[in-house]
Symmetry: C2
Subunit: 332 residues, 2 copies
């Protein structure tokens, strides 16, 4: 009889950094798959900024919060180790919501088989939530057109880095915003962004003016924070703002103010918020849309891999500090 | 040789109420129509909140500002008194941009003939800019659906009163926001709104909760001001916000802050700004869309008529004070 580790959410987070006391690490007996079930051994777990929202009760959010006492929610990659389900065989690799756990039982619902040959980091960095989010946000709402200028905040993050590369492949002038020089360097010299702004040290307004002399047509918003007003001020007529994340504000007791709405009229802006659960039905189409860019070698990624389930707890705080270099993955 | 009066803009307005010193009242000789021209005697002039924006230079606005020394811009209704143009006969009634003037010359470009039988107040209150704006904003961007709840700010204004009546005719729960009890009473008892909020004296949050128990699906924003955050807080998932006017902020040196953007993601909101000059090509379709409601007797209006060209100057300040009761029209 073997045991495995899982981590449960036992209290709601307070504003500020995530503290370990809101989680409980438990050892449990590895179960057997019941009729119609499969047993999955998770190999890699994805950490995403959206998790910070999932931990807090908010009746108006797009997805119910994680219940207290339940295993913390996350998506991941796992291998079928036991199957009583005709559609799944031992050895199949599956992707989907598995949670902070080394093993889980499933009926297979909501899980997708992963193409053989793709390494785990590519799967979780490109074809999982970040890539689906980037593809839906940019093409579903951003309406990118060759020659236009796009600004991406959180550009070195898992979603932002893909949005920028997709936009670059479409022929846009791509400006990324990130929080340190190493990330900015990576955006420009590795990913091919046309420019990058270090929001902590650069003169944001001056640099935006230099990098976007004809104004900004699309703002892909992953962060909030001081960059928001600066980009807003330089939006062009008929500009599109896709609001995907507000990480700079998630940990705040008092959310910061947004821009005044007069320019929304003057420039006839469209501001569109979205969240992937609304689009889970479109996953096959999104994967089909994304795949050619990956196959053409236009999408680079980098993963920031943490080791062991418990590293997820402090790992969440890397979203607040910007300490992660690429997609956060926990290797189990 | 007779003369007529016109009013020119000679200085840019300062924040706060409009002062007479930015205008010059001039007497000019009535011109003769040249080849291909018509001479129009304006009979009624429309005052619209958008004029406040037209007076200030803003390279990013949707329409160039009125040049200093030029006749102030406005739309109006006039009669052809001399014609050298095959498409226009003496006695034709025309609607369009004519300016603050008793007479103007035109080639007819941009002017539309007015259906006989419609009185001047109906033309300028319903079928001119306010009705086109209400129709484009509500149906073009608001996507109203029977049973949904809409909140209209500036609801007793020329655009807002039409938006609310159109929405009511479509079977929505319609809540209007206005600045005095007489207007609120008019909205509910004359126009058939389901509820009204006096933003100056009511407990806005409590009243919104009572009138929109299932939340708000559409916010038609004409004013800005404190109502904005309250409505924003009660928007439903997939809500639409149509931003048409921000009168509460136009006169301010420092525009007020907008709402934080986190709810835009959580509720997947769409915020759309618009301005009618983008849609002037659709005027025939908009008139066709609006006409059946008028013919069915579903659209009431009231005009607030000022007498004489010079009344336009102080008349503009009624937009700031909310002192107008219905569509502002200057009778010449």
């Amino acid at each position: 009889m073997s045991s495995y580790t899982a981590i449960k959410l036992i209290a709601r987070p307070k504003p500020g950094p995530v503290t370990p006391d809101i989680f409980e690490v438990v050892q449990q007996e590895i179960p057997k798959a019941g009729p119609g079930q499969i047993l999955i051994k998770q190999t890699h777990m994805s950490l995403d900024p959206a998790m910070l929202g999932w931990m807090s009760p908010d009746p108006e959010s797009y997805i119910p919060p994680v219940e207290l006492g339940a295993v913390m929610r996350s998506s991941g990659l796992g291998e079928v180790v036991e199957s009583n389900h005709p559609d799944f065989a031992v050895g199949d690799r599956l992707m989907g919501i598995m949670g902070w756990t080394e093993y889980c039982l499933s009926t297979g619902q909501g899980l997708n088989k992963v193409q053989p040959g793709l390494d785990a980091e590519t799967v979780l960095s490109v074809f999982a939530l970040p890539g689906l989010t980037a593809t839906q946000g940019l093409f579903g709402f951003g309406d990118p057109k060759k020659g236009e200028t796009i600004v991406v905040s959180g550009a070195a993050g898992s979603v932002g880095s893909l949005v920028g590369q997709l936009a670059k492949a479409e022929g846009l002038n791509v400006i990324g915003v990130a929080g340190d020089d190493e990330k900015c360097d990576w955006l420009v010299n590795e990913l091919g962004f046309d420019g990058a702004i270090n929001y902590k040290t650069d003169d944001i307004a001056a640099k935006l003016k230099a990098l976007a002399p004809k104004g900004i047509d699309i703002y892909f918003e992953n962060t909030g924070g001081p960059i928001q007003q600066h980009v807003f001020d330089r939006m062009n007529a008929h500009g599109r703002i896709v609001v995907c994340g507000m990480i700079a504000d998630y940990g705040k007791a008092e959310p910061s103010a947004g821009p005044n709405w007069i320019p929304i009229i003057k420039k006839r802006l469209t501001i569109q918020g979205f969240a992937m659960p609304d689009h889970f039905g479109d996953v096959p189409a999104l994967v089909a849309r994304l795949t050619p860019y990956v196959m053409a070698g236009k999408i680079k990624h980098r993963a920031h891999v943490l080791e062991g389930l418990e590293s997820a707890i402090s790992g969440l705080n890397l979203f607040f500090t910007g300490g992660n270099k690429g997609k956060l993955i926990v290797k189990l």
